[in-house]
């Protein structure tokens, strides 16, 4: 692989007593990409993240982060946002941010400058000297994310970064995340919101019961689960078209239809046939690629 690798996990295993939380996972995260970790609750995502961060040691397997086993210097180049999160309640926002940034090796004055700048970006300047417990949950969450990137890490690992946020704050956070990525940073994130994965992530790893279920580029996976079918909207007798095996009317028989194709037929041929037919009009034509949400549910159902 020509791409630089930020994280390399090989056959990692973690047991909690008799329970195997992570079972022989192998994957790579490339530098500069947004990598999604998906899976139902309790599937082993957080345990995997903790092993990458060296908070937990794998029982078997090997993990290399930023070019080798995680050492103290490399830890300063990582940012982590855990799932259920909080801050010291009785401490002022700016003080809290500066402390956490200096722990990552940022000089004090610089940490303060960066904190104030990011607070302004997040429209939270006026709260810099307020105590954390005077802030709303959404505000606290934005500050926690700010802390994650304050030391300008090369890699951030964010566990459910958008959970509990309203749409406006979600957008603000997403902008920060994409900005971080545009600056060359690598993002590993877990989420339950599949449309965000489709929108933001390059590749994904889906885990169920500690085992790998899906792994690879998001588009490839969607295509792999694609039906040999097309979705059309418009007027006409779809069943007459050459290459169409069967018509499935969706959405209570309204104008939208799912056309299952014969093995030899291609979508291009069908499109050409539609445009050539004088009694047919078309308003929408697309490949029947399922959403990640559908794939997610299907994979989980299959392994139930």
């Amino acid at each position: 692989m020509s791409q630089q690798v930020a994280i390399q996990a090989e056959h990692i295993v973690k047991n909690y007593g008799d329970f195997r939380a992570v079972d022989d996972l192998t994957f790579e995260v490339y530098a500069g990409e947004v990598f999604a970790m998906l899976g139902p609750n309790g599937s082993g995502k957080t345990t995997t993240m903790r092993m990458i961060l060296d908070i937990l040691k794998p029982d078997a397997g090997r993990i290399a982060v930023l070019g080798g086993p995680l050492n103290d210097a490399a830890k300063d180049r990582i940012g982590y946002l855990p799932e259920e999160r909080g801050l010291y309640r009785n401490v002022r926002v700016l003080e809290m941010m500066v402390y956490l940034a200096t722990l990552k090796g940022v000089p004090r004055a610089e940490a303060e400058r960066r904190s104030l700048a990011i607070l302004e970006r997040l429209e939270l300047s006026e709260y810099a000297r307020k105590k954390v417990n005077e802030l709303s949950k959404g505000m606290q969450q934005k500050i926690q994310f700010a802390v994650t990137v304050l030391h300008q890490p090369d890699l951030i690992i964010v566990d459910e970064p958008f959970s509990g946020l309203d749409p406006v704050n979600t957008l603000a956070l997403k902008d920060l995340l994409m900005e971080f990525r545009a600056g060359g940073g690598t993002v590993v994130m877990s989420t339950h919101q599949m449309w965000q994965v489709e929108e933001m992530c390059d590749r994904l790893l889906m885990i169920h019961r500690g085992r790998q279920q899906l792994y690879g580029p998001v588009d490839d996976i969607r295509k792999r689960y694609a039906l040999h079918a097309i979705i059309v909207e418009g007027q006409g007798d779809w069943a007459k078209l050459p290459g169409v095996q069967r018509v499935e009317l969706t959405e209570n028989g309204r104008r939208r239809a799912l056309l299952h194709l014969q093995d030899a037929a291609t979508p291009d041929e069908v499109l050409a046939a539609i445009t050539a037919a004088p009694d047919m009009t078309i308003e929408r034509f697309e490949l029947a690629v399922p959403s990640l949400n559908d794939i997610f549910i299907r994979v989980v159902e299959e392994h139930r």
Partner: protein, 418 residues
Amino acid sequence: MSRHMWQVFLYELKRNVRRKGFLFATFGIPLIGYALFFGYQFITNLNDRGAPSSPALEILQSSQFQGITKAGYVDLSGHFADPGDLSRLLIPYADEASAQAALQAGSIDVYYVIAPDFLETGDVALYMPQFTLTKATDWPIRQLVLRRLASGLDRDTYARLLNPVQLREINLQRDATGATETNFDADFAIVYVFALALMLSVFITNGYLMQTVIEEKETRLIEVLISGMRPTHLLAGKILALGLLGLAQIVVWVAAILLLARLAAGSAAPALAVLANFALPPTTLIVLLLYFVFGYLFFAAAYGIVSAVSSSMQEGPQLAVIFTLPAVIPLYFLPVFISAPDGPLAVALSLIPVTAPLSMVMRVSLIAVPAWQIVLSLALLAVIDGFLIWLAGRVFRVGTLLAGKTPKLRDLPKLVRG
């Protein structure tokens, strides 16, 4: 010291020194102590100024007497017919019937009946309208009897009869020259104050240690912190910061006590007058310091373990009792320590690590403890400290991640293995 440990140390120092609870304990407790002391002295002075000079009346004004303003008595023995200068208080009646009538009329609060064979038996009956604790006293009749039996004695002899001996104890064990007087009350006070100061400070600062760890667990901030540093560095930075605060607290308290002792030098309060002569020898001070440090580390590691495995601020202190309860055992044996500071119990308790800090502090403030005992006790304590700190580091790593559930006893070996 690693960079992270140093940063945690500085931050926790800054954060905890501003705690209202810490500031109150460190400065408020001595201030309250001063206020109580000077308030007490002021009131005592006021009372002294208004006090009558006659010893008899002083006794009459004794607080034990306040329940009765007027008492009657029937003397069947024939020795105490005349109340003398007690007539304002004690009214003689010829028989029980007239005394009872006076009681019912409300002109007296109670009446006594002195038995015919009083001189042989000392029998006196007290009649009161209903049982009242403050009225159930023999003081009026005791004054009458003492005055009658001691009539003809001079004032000094009378005073000696009432309080025959003023004992002064010279403890040769404490000071071989015999130059140091000891006074049970003063010794008791000094030992108690030092032991209490040590334990209070250790418990207060380690309580904060537990609070900060549990807060980090509850908010999951601990994961952010230990994703960037070793858990042992985090714990060590906290322990050092709070230890320093504890030490500062003890220094403030001891300074306050010594200052109070100097202020009390001219005072009439006897316990404090002794305190004024009390000076800590430098070697004792060093021993106190060493026991603070090693004792603090013992409880810091213990609290570290407890906070790593507890899931809430309600649960932590309950589990900590496992360590704190045995630690204060020496306080229950305080009288034994004072009467036999070199006895087998005191020596044993000062060697067992969990009770050593308190026991040894009590002993060294009373006697010159043999050096080998101090060395052995400190060595044992240091070994246990080392073990507990190691254990805390292990448990901390895994225990801190177990949010919301407390591990069972059988899970502990697993926690240690990480």
